[in-house]
Each structure stands twice: as C-alpha cells, then as structure tokens.
C-alpha cells in the first residue's frame, strides 16, 4: 500500500510537469493527509539524496514539483525539442501561389486569393519558406517573392521541377 501510494505520487508529479498541491494529492489518491505527508517525505529523500537528473522540489503551499536537476542544465539547453507544426490554410495557399507563379508580387497573390496577404507573407519569410527576389519593373516597384531552399527541403523536392504538374485553369 505504502509503495503503491509512493508510485502514484511519483506518476502524478511526472505527468503533471508542474507544481501539484498537497491538497490535490490528498484528494486524488484518497489517502489521509498525514500519511501522505510521510510518504512524500520518503519520496523526497529518495529523489534528492542521490545524485540524480530529476529532483522533487517542495514549494510553498505545500506543493511539489518534479523537475530536472540544475547540474543538467548544460545538456538540456543543447536539447531543443523541435515543434511540429502544420501550415495554416492561408499559408499553404499563399505558398502554393508563390511556388507555381514565382516570381510574384504581393498584389498578384492577393488578386488570386482575394484577401490581404501581407501578414502571411511576413510569416512565410520569417519561416524561411520564401524569399524576396528583387522588385518588379512596374509602377511602385513592388517586391517579388520566390520560394526558398527551405521550401524545397520542407516539401521534399530536389528542385522546383519536381513540383507536381498542374492542369492550369
């Protein structure tokens, strides 16, 4: 029983990834407060008296937080978790127009999409999916856009020739 509660405490702190109040733990595990406190203290000792990469911190409340040990911060800072993200429909459409019609100006993209595209273009530029390719020789000298190397990489193309052919409308 004691071991089960300890395991449950450990699991709850692990999954939550943020501070969990003692009150909440009592409610969750349905164990009297005093018993829980004793078991938690044991768990704290197990975690913190050894040289480990993960520790449990007691905070005001009291609340408990499972987190990494500061000694490991060096390695952890090297480890950045890539964020997997889908492009929004607006980004995809804009990117598609640029891919198939490059070089193309913002006004030309807006004419096709029927909506303002300045923000989308900025975000595509920031994400390194498109780049500027000089101005167009018409009044106002608008900037033209083309797809970038990054675009090819993201969509697994070796060159723009690999873009699927399209029956133009």
């Amino acid at each position: 029983m004691r071991d089960e509660v300890k395991a449950a405490l450990e699991a709850v702190l692990f999954v939550r990834g943020e501070a969990v109040g003692l009150d909440e733990l009592v409610e969750l595990l349905d164990v009297p407060l005093l018993d829980l406190k004793v078991i938690m203290d044991e768990l704290l000792i197990e975690y913190n008296n050894n040289h480990r990469g993960v520790q449990i911190i007691m905070m005001a409340g009291p609340a408990y937080l499972m987190c990494t040990h500061p000694d490991c911060s060096d390695i952890l800072s090297r480890m950045e978790r890539p964020v997997r993200r889908r492009l929004s429909q607006a980004s995809l459409e804009t990117l598609a127009v640029i891919a198939y019609r490059q070089p193309v100006t913002r006004a030309e993209i807006e004419k096709i999409r029927g909506v303002k595209c300045d923000k989308v273009i900025t975000s595509l530029l920031e994400r390194n999916l498109i780049e500027e390719a000089g101005t167009k020789a018409v009044a106002g000298k608008p900037m033209q856009y083309i797809t970038s190397e990054g675009f090819l990489r993201v969509f697994g193309l070796t060159s723009l020739k690999d873009l699927p052919e399209l029956e133009e409308a």
Partner: protein, 245 residues
C-alpha cells in the same frame, strides 16, 4: 411503440441499425429485412432531426433498406442453367458485411475510448506542452500544397466574372487623398497619364478621374495643357507652380 430513442444519440444509420438488431437479438446473418426496415423508418418518423446533414445519411440508408425489402419480396429469378443454392446471392449479404464491419470498428472505438479514459491499464506520457521549444518542423506534405492551389484555382475560375464587385471599396474620396499625396510626393506636379500607372481595374480609373475632376472643382489642383496633344500637367494649387508662365 415501446421504444423511444433519440436519433441524435445514434452516430449514424449503421449505429441505429445495429441497435435495432441487437435489441431484438436478431441473428445478423438472417435479418428480417421487412421488420427491420419498418422499425428503422418509424424511428426516423418519430424523431425531429435538427441536423439536416445527418438526416441525409439516415435517409440514404432508409432507401437502401426499402430497396432491399422489395428485392426480398420479389420472387428470385430462377436461373435456367443452375439452380444451385450456392449460386444465389442473398441480397442482404452486402448489408451484413457492412454491419459486421461497422460493429468491428465500433468496438475498437469503445476500446480506444476506455484506453483514453484510463479505464484500461495504460502509460501516460509526460505533459510537455510548455517545454522549451526548439526549431519548428513543418509537417505539411506536397499533397496539401497542391490541394490548396487547386481549390484556389477552382475558386478563381468560378469567381472571375464577379471579381470586380470586390472593389466596391474604391471611393472617390480616397482617390482624392491619393492624388493629393502623390502630388505632394512629386514636388507638387505630375503628368496626367501617370495618374493611372499601375491601375488594374476600370473602376479604379473612373474613381481616379472623378477624384481629379472634384479636386479641380474645389480648386485644390490645377490642370494645364501647354500645347495641343501635349501632356496635361496637374499642379498642386497654392504652391509656386501655380504662378502664370
């Protein structure tokens, strides 16, 4: 009727059909089509289905059941060459297969639901939602890109005839402002034709021209043509350009 069931509680016609069959403990391989389709239809009639999308799916199944019922009522055509039972295809067979198939995935869904709710032993991953995030990896594939472009082109061809309606927001007043500021940028003068550079739509041309006429009327600008067929020059009024030459 002893059963009053909310149609909304069913996740589609297959679900309802399965319920009717299981309720009466019917052998799924020998469904009394006439009875089941009557029950099915009375369910539809007894319910106010607010979701029309869903109703369509239910009605499709109803017509399928009625078709099946009529086929069951008709005497089976006797095939001259062979009268083997084995060669006869039970019209219900497709329905049975579909029902079994659906049942199969419905059970799988229930299992997944139990796993999700932790009713079955499972592991939990750590909640890393606000962990330090590294570089972004975009997971769209080429197919989604292509699809986006195709739908765009389709919209484009459909909407082309009415395209200019979009430009209702061109106002003469805005164009007056535009002319004034362009004049200011061009040290107070510009060639008439340059006014229309980069203009794509006829409506915009009209608006610009009307704006110019209005500015002339208000005497905020002056237009001057120094020779027949020569350039018409537009000057900002109240500046040194207005002085008589």
């Amino acid at each position: 009727m002893t059963y009053v069931v909310d149609l909304e509680a069913f996740h589609g016609p297959m679900d309802l059909l399965l319920y009717l069959i299981e309720k009466d403990e019917i052998n799924i391989y020998d469904i009394p089509i006439a009875r089941i389709s009557d029950q099915y239809i009375s369910h539809l009639q007894g319910n106010d289905v607010s979701d029309l999308d869903n109703l369509g799916d239910f009605l499709l199944m109803a017509s399928y059941l009625l078709n099946l019922k009529s086929r069951m009522l008709l005497p089976r055509p006797t095939v001259e060459e062979s009268t083997d039972e084995a060669d006869e295809i039970d019209p219900r067979e497709e329905l049975v297969q579909r029902l079994l198939n659906y049942k199969h995935y419905k059970e799988a869904a229930a299992t997944l639901g139990m796993i999700h709710e932790g009713e079955m032993a499972r592991i939990f991953y750590r909640n890393t939602a606000d962990e330090i995030l590294g570089p972004e990896v975009i997971v769209n594939d080429l197919g989604s890109l292509l699809k986006a472009y195709r739908s765009l082109l389709r919209q484009l061809t459909e909407e082309e005839p009415s395209y200019e309606i979009r430009l209702e927001d061109i106002s003469v007043e805005d164009k007056m402002e535009e002319i004034m500021s362009r004049l200011a940028e061009n040290t107070g003068e510009m060639v008439f034709q340059d006014l229309f550079l980069g203009v794509r739509y006829r409506r915009e041309t009209y608006a610009l021209f009307l704006a110019l006429l209005e500015l002339l009327r208000l005497q905020r600008v002056v237009a001057r043509q120094s020779a027949v067929f020569g350039d018409i020059m537009i000057y900002l009024r109240g500046e040194q350009h207005v002085d008589e030459r």
